[in-house]
Amino acid sequence: MGLSDGTIKMSFTILPDDLTAAGEASSSMKKMLNQLGVSPQLVKKAAIAMYEAEINAVIHGGGGIADIIIDGQKIEILIRDEGPGIPDLELAMQEGYSTASDEIREMGFGAGMGLPNMKRYSDELIIHSEVGKGTSVKIIVNFY
């Protein structure tokens, strides 16, 4: 939805345990960014980072909410869940660390590369997580 000051906001619900629908929110954002004429390189960064966060919310967080704000400066993506939280964020950020189940791994997830990818494809990554409360991931991709 476009606001009068040129800021665009979008919200999506991320359903739990529905891996087949996972990616709908990031693909909608991607389409919006393409429509806005954002450079393909930035669209790719934002879409991959958001897809990883969306998948994590489904697999690890029991579903959640995605809020996107696009203004003249940046794309800001906030993904929140009320899942189990991440006990050791530093450990979780390491390449290869994963607690994904065998079933999830059989689908090709669980390489432990999602959080490192979010870091790599964003300009700023801010994660808050509390055990028993949930996790919020903010991904910022700057236009300039």
Partner: protein
């Protein structure tokens, strides 16, 4: 070489009609760990994977690979084929192994 020419020359079956066949191929990439693919696959690669669920289409779109190749005659679910067609991603099916497909890609200078 584009996806159509590669499929024709190698006798691979195209599962997705005429969708996405004009994309140029540049190299091949084999991996079944989706997040790994998202950090390492290059645009216009032919991505070879044994996964056939819907997320394969999402990953193919995000990485901008030229096509997906499913080796060893593995069956691809209909929803995946439909989604790929909707998004303009070609899925090719081959009876050969991932290794043999890479050899073909090399042979045809993809």
């Amino acid at each position: 070489m584009n996806v159509r020419e590669f499929a024709e020359k190698t006798g691979m079956k195209v599962l997705t009609g005429d969708k996405g066949l004009d994309k140029e191929l540049a190299g091949a990439y084999v991996c079944d760990l989706l997040s790994w693919v998202m950090s390492h696959a290059n645009k216009n690669n032919a991505w070879i994977t044994v996964h056939t669920h819907l997320n394969v289409v999402a990953v193919a779109l995000l990485t901008e690979v030229a096509c997906v190749i499913i080796p060893e005659g593995i069956h691809v679910e209909e929803p995946t084929v439909n989604k790929a067609m909707e998004e303009g991603i070609a899925i090719l099916s081959s009876d050969k192994s991932a290794y043999e497909i890479c050899c073909l890609a090399h042979e045809f200078k993809v």
